[in-house]
Symmetry: D2
Subunit: 321 residues, 4 copies
């Protein structure tokens, strides 16, 4: 019901949970979970197998691997190395499903460097081990490792800065430089604040740039670019309207079930979904449009997570399997 | 009732409104308003005159001048010049109440340069016309204007970066360089998103660093520094918990008054304030602690407003009256 | 003679002067000068008309307009406005020579944002009035001015950051977004330190990215992109080897002409150009390769000049003639 | 002779070499060298023991430890760890000579964040493990290590940004927060380009802020602050005038000794030092004042070296000996 709101999440995992909470089985969607107790890392795979599943989930057919680790934003190098290693494995696993050459990789750092929670993509690009120009000029021998991938990178900026759709920029560069593969990094919006800065999603379905802070643009994906696109996303914000909506949904639920306020519940239960929806909708301030929620220490957090993602990509590219 | 929540605002104006909505008159607090229709600039003065007024308002005795202008965040130079000029007048007006020399000014750019909505203070400091070292070395003649103030500036950083209370840093510098006056710039938290990035508060009561994004530290004020402190604050964030709380308060009010849900209202009216408070409190997620709400275009906005504030201070310092 | 050294300059004006100092007339190269005494702005046009002239000058056939103003790096808004207005005129003048639509402009901010004297291009792009996405979505009415150009911008980064030739990136974007015109901004290398940060060169021959700090890449020009390319360059560095070479050339000249050391001169005059060249060459430290010379206050200087260039482009784009 | 020029170096090691090249023994100055062949790290200690030695060297009495490693600027983590470990040892060694508590450390990141080669100090401060505020609020238990030092940090900015002498700022903070020790980080000027970005100097004599890019200010040292000051400096620039001067000195020397130009040499040898000095002085362009020489890849270099220095300080502060 209240789900009719545009309760936004970029995480397939959260989309799946939404349905589970309603005890609905989703046909065409497969779930797989693995928890490493010692490292406190949980891996979840959501596989959307059919178009029907895609419609229900509101996300394209494909594989969504989610890594959750509570220590992701902490200042702890050992934990970061564990997460990097795990992320590298997820990337290798998702790449295995895709045939064809994967020798040359274009990394796209999406987002806005000047807005802290949206700077993840640019920060990752800043520290990558860029090799394409060296290998092209001197050959692989120059890098002491003949199995190294050719890595190039671009930070396209956001539409307000460029006047162009990000996909236009990336498509042009792909056609001109002909990489085998795009890895796109972006900050995402989660639905639940407890997922912020402790979750990494890897998907082979591409990405919607700008979705990290809210506006949908033409997708960066195999359909638009003509080559496989692996998306790495980290939720760093929650839409302000989502938080308010969730809280009110909780309040209504509490009113319906609370012992203390049983009377209210009985009355509310007499009203149908549409009536409740209208009630909540008019209470969410229009001023919340274009607003996001993010933690105060987001600067350190984004910097740390960007290093984790960057290390994983650097390791992945040292060696073509 | 729900007011028992720590519904945070750094704006005296909003504190005042809170009471007015309850139709309470506040003894010891004087309000004065002026609206310039042509320039669309509203000036409000809240004067807290007595300790009783201070306790009620939760803010120290002193003058709080608020400038509101809907065009503050727009990309429009003419509007910005109007606001700068008006802000300069407010600064001159508040300085008139303070006796003693005002020849030498230390500007303190509070906040965290790395977190976009908290970067206002550092950005203002970046573009100031710094003159103290030139006047001390070459005399006023060097600057073609003998009535110029000596301007110095510091960006102290936040406690997580320095390990020191900001007041420790500023106090040390004040003792060593002996300015006549401190002007402290900070990003503030508002209660209402519609005030964000369109309001400037000037106060002669000093400032609580870190309050722009949430933690109260020892005040930077005449008591701690020994010289007058003029605070310039711009609300760029709202606490996430505030937004949720407000929305739920609205929902309860709607339930109590709605025709469609009259039954619920009747039941709720049977419960007392404490019961309602408990209900809302347990629904606000602890994950919202340390979270703030801010607009997506905060990078351009903060940059523009910082130029307005900077221009006003530069004009103020060209000429000691 | 010593000219055999790679005495680098990106300024056609300096290339021309080099020959004049030898009293050589260059066939196929026309020079035109204008000095505005009141504004202290000198405009020089070097027109390379023939392939022979191009070979002699080491620069492609085309128009090179140079604006020199001693106050360019000063902190003076009025002077900056004069220079912006003049630069806008130069741009309109050079555009007049090119037929075809000039309605849609892609601005390319070349250089490395992280190296201060090379950050000019990125800084200009940061403050441009970007309109393409707005006009495409809402039409020209949205911008209150139907004659406005469509402006888009890209900061491609340098090869060490991207692994790609800049021309590959720009070519891809041009093919995809089809602008009528490219305006490329870059920091240049001058031969003479006295030209630094007081000269702007506008050329219709395109640009060599990276030349501002030294390595030649495939050109960004009409030949490679298929549309006219206007280059705006500001010299912010001098190659370290150039400065040393010049000084030694001066020393040898002094030895040859000095009264006090007349004897040395007589001996040196007995040696031919090649011998002198060998002498100087072996004295220039190989450690100077990849080194540049720049002023200590380059941060303020680059920021100020980037605003001048940005204002001129913004004015140019408000109105298609 | 040409030494009468202000041939600037901030490295005691280079000051020492200057004399050695003249085969002069310096009384009151002791030299000690150690070379680790495997790690390719050379440690040199210059100990200025007497006031006479200090006058000759142009540097205060004290210990100057220099670490030279050709791989310092390379992208190689293992080498960086070796250098960090060695630097930590040098810091512990120099601290041992100083009695008194060393529990609480204020790190001062000198220099200008906006000028790449001068940003070393600010970059080091950015990544330090700041503990003072945590230990003061929660005690050492909060950090799992009771022997940890209290670390605070400040990035004071340069005089053009603050209008204050850096020593005024630091002195004020030291008086207010009472650390036991200051560690000041600064970019230095070397005399020889081959020392750039491969040398770290640790000294117990304090530092001259701004010397990294050229202007001498009141020293930050035990005399002015009242507590020991350890200076960590890395040469990232060479004065432009120094490079030119050196080259011309080489040219004159070559003329005096060259077989091919023997005649010139004979003539020059007939002139005295003052005559040669005058000759060179008038050839060094006044435009070189305030200019510095630095490598094109200074952004990566400064970032990498700042991590080495930061890691060494973090390790040093984990454990009070």
């Amino acid at each position: 019901m209240i789900d009719k709101f545009n309760v936004r999440t970029d995480l397939a995992l959260e989309e799946k949970e939404r349905f589970e909470s309603d005890d609905v089985e989703i046909s065409g969607v497969v779930l797989e979970e693995h928890y490493d107790e010692q490292k406190e890392i949980r891996i979840t795979m959501v596989k959307i197998e059919t178009e029907k599943g895609a419609r229900t989930m509101g996300k394209p057919v494909g594989n969504y691997l989610t890594l959750e680790a509570p220590g992701m934003a902490d200042d702890n190098e050992e934990i970061h190395r564990d997460i990097s290693d795990e992320l590298e494995k997820l990337l290798r696993r998702i790449l295995k499903d895709h045939k064809g050459k994967q020798e040359s990789v274009l990394v796209v750092g999406l987002g806005n460097r000047m807005v802290t929670p949206d700077a993840l993509g640019p920060y990752v690009a800043d520290h990558l081990n860029i090799t394409r120009h060296v290998i092209r000029e001197y050959g692989r021998y120059a890098l002491h490792d003949q199995r190294m991938r050719l890595v190039s990178a671009i930070v396209p900026g956001v539409m307000g800065q460029t006047g162009m759709e990000t996909v236009e920029i990336v498509k042009g560069i792909v056609k001109e430089t002909e990489p085998d593969l795009v890895i796109a990094i972006d900050a995402l919006a989660a639905r639940n604040t407890k997922r912020l800065n402790r979750t990494i999603q890897v998907a082979d379905t591409g990405i919607q740039p700008g979705s990290g802070v809210g506006n949908h643009r033409s997708a960066i994906c195999q359909e638009t670019l003509g080559i496989p696109v692996i998306a790495i996303g980290v939720p760093t914000v929650v839409d302000a309207a989502t938080i308010v909506n969730d809280s009110m949904e909780n309040l209504i639920q509490a009113l319906e079930t609370s012992e203390a306020l049983r009377g209210v519940g009985l009355v509310l239960q007499g009203y149908n979904a549409t009536e409740k929806y209208e009630l909540v909708k008019e209470l969410i301030s229009p001023h919340l449009n274009g607003m996001f929620v993010t933690p105060k220490d987001i600067d350190d957090t984004v910097r740390r997570i960007s290093r984790i993602v960057c290390d994983a990509i650097n390791q992945l590219c040292v060696c073509v399997e």
